[in-house]
Amino acid sequence: MIVRKESIPPGPSGEAPSETFVLNLGPQHPAAHGVLRVLMTMDGEWITKAEPVIGYIHRMHEKMGENRTWAQFLPNTSRIDYLSAMHYTHAFVGAVERAAKIEVPPRAEYVRVITSELNRIASHMVWWGAMLADLGGLTPFLYAFDDRELILDLLEGICGARLTYCYYRFGGLCNDIDDDFVQGTRAFVKHMPPRLKMYRDLVTDNIILRKRLTGIGPISAEMCRKYGATGPVIRGSGVAYDVRKIEPYSVYPQFDFKIPTYPECDSMARYLVRMDEMEQSLRIIEQALDQLPAGPVMGKVPRVLKLPPGDYCYAVEAARGRFMVRIVSDGKDTPYRVKLRTPSFSNLSLYEEASKGMILPDALAMMGSLDLVIPDIDR
């Protein structure tokens, strides 16, 4: 526990000493999902102020972008939010392709969608398990990882990594998918719905879970907009904002899928949004497999990549929300500036306001429902 004296707010002068104390949650805390530190000014178990202190896993991704070539920065993108590495690589690759006007073959785009959605399910499974572990139920964690391992097997088969995939390349993919992957994905799409139903019956409808999440941690749509919170957080506030629909990229307009929204604004809404999203992802994967065209997976890319000067943005819907890469090029073979707009950063920034007046376990349940990945915040 690191509590520095100056961080404790002084009591109002001339009054009796304040009854609050500062609880230093983290950087090592089981509910901190890594190294988030929250300075909680507490009145008993009630939180009067919860101030997140971040930067404990700041790994200077943005600085690194400036001193390596466009292609050399690619592995970094999969380590920002390691749980949705595919999406992050997609955003960076997409931004460079947009700037260099590289044509991506349709097969590559379809495979990108399939792998991205698989990655989304894997990420949501980790969130689901970790959130239930936050609430004190450890068993769902293991079931979630069981299903996740199936996805990891599939993705490992095509790109060799279990977690930090670097599968997308400028202009396409590094490998074509094989029959095993297609068969395996079809089998997974069949395997998953009964599991999701089981999770709904066993966990989502559990009365303790319902009691702990319903009405806890309200985040209004207005608050989401002001803080830039996206992803399941804004969708749990009833706004159907999803980059895949609002600012379509890749071949997402080809597919028929719904954006699940819940207007309740509470932790349960965010929970249900993610549970429904997994079903929608399965639908997208199924359609993409059916429509998968033949052809090459790599477009024509110049050997030495130099982007025309200017700034370019590319946003994707990562598992945690809107992820945007803004690259600034000055015509050289290295980026002039890489800005990574990460969803967890904005999602956490509203925590201080949203957690005011909550009781400690509720605040932690709400933190779980935000689905934070700390390196994604700190970059």
């Binding site: 089981p30 609430l135 004190g136």
Partner: protein
């Protein structure tokens, strides 16, 4: 063999036996819990230390015993050392009055039930002292939680026990078991229904069981430890054997709670089928019933998420206490009525 009937020697033997029983139980219940958890979570669980992992508790015990002993700076040294002792002693004493068989009881005293309940609350004090002495904010929050939780759950638990006393009319645990002789419908949990002393006795049992989970700080009421909220709760600053004792005491308390439930509701050492009783079968029946209940406790832990703290208090004050009061009144009225008629 005459000396065996000498009271001091008998007591000594029983004390050693109880200590061994509690120690072995605590150690192997941890293993059982890890194995059952593994079973529930579709994995093998500890299976490399010894055949099927049966040496795992031994390894854990050795590890904990030879771990550095340290009183963290700034703690209240005396209370910090005292708390593990205080948490371990009550279940040991409680087991002295629990009859494992018709004659297998260390002290067959008339107020056994009272003794168990009076010592049962010392456990709370120990956790509170441990949390307070640790000088850790998580521990202090946890200590406050433990006290309010136990105060809340002591009441319905005692009301339930009073309800049972109305029907049994004795505080002697062995006597309570003797009354339940015969087939399994003679057990208190079913007898109350057809003798019309307390038709709601299954509800009474559920209240008792919930209260027992809460009193032993087991999930879904594990506010004292609350791993994902309060790091390790009251034991955050305890390492090595100090922590090991807290860990063992949790299981010892479960043993006491489950054996009490066995005595009060499931006929103790009575056979469920009328035959196969006696000094050999009796203890076996008792342990069988007790371990079945312990299994349920473990099963619940690995199935449910933790309750919210004020939800937990609400459950006690708004549901369990009125309900147990109602069963108490109902049972009292029915017994009076049957006597009048």
């Amino acid at each position: 063999m005459r000396f065996l009937s000498l009271e001091p020697i008998r007591i000594l033997l029983y004390l050693v036996g109880i200590c061994a029983f509690v120690g072995a139980n605590a150690a192997y219940l941890v293993l059982a819990e890890r194995k059952i958890a593994g079973r529930i979570q579709r994995r093998p669980g500890p299976n490399e230390a010894g055949y099927g992992g049966w040496l795992q508790p031994v390894a854990d015990g050795i590890k904990l015993l030879v771990k550095q002993v340290m009183v963290p700076p700034g703690t209240d040294g005396l209370l910090y050392r005292l708390a593990p002792l205080m948490v371990m002693a009550p279940p040991l004493i409680c087991l002295a009055v629990v009859p494992f068989g018709e004659d297998l009881v260390a002290r067959n005293i008339n107020v056994g039930l009272l003794l168990v309940f009076s010592l049962g609350s010392v456990n709370v004090m120990a956790l509170m002292l441990g949390g307070w002495a640790s000088r850790n904010k998580y521990s202090v929050i946890s200590a406050a939680r433990v006290v309010s939780q136990n105060v809340a759950y002591e009441i319905p638990m005692l009301l339930v026990v009073i309800t049972m006393l109305l029907a049994t009319g004795t505080l002697n645990l062995n006597e309570i078991i003797r009354q339940q002789a015969g087939w399994f419908w003679h057990w208190n949990i079913l007898r109350g229904i057809w003798t019309l002393t307390n038709p709601l006795i299954p509800v009474t049992f559920v209240i008792f069981f919930i209260c027992m989970l809460a009193e032993t700080n087991r999930a879904p009421f594990d506010m004292a430890e609350a791993e994902s909220e309060l790091v390790a709760g009251a034991f955050t600053e305890y390492g090595g054997m100090g922590f090991g004792v807290f860990f063992m005491a949790e299981y010892a308390n479960i043993v006491v709670g489950c054996s009490l439930a066995t005595v009060l509701f499931f006929g103790g050492w009575q056979s469920p089928i009328g035959i196969l009783s006696g000094p050999i079968w009796g203890p076996l029946w008792f342990l069988g019933k007790m371990y079945a209940l312990i299994f349920v406790v473990i099963w619940i832990r690995w199935t449910f998420p933790r309750t919210q703290f004020y939800g937990l208090l609400n459950l006690s004050w708004k549901i369990l206490i009125p309900l147990s009061l109602f069963t108490l009144l109902l049972s009292g009225a029915l017994i009076t009525l049957t006597k009048l008629l």
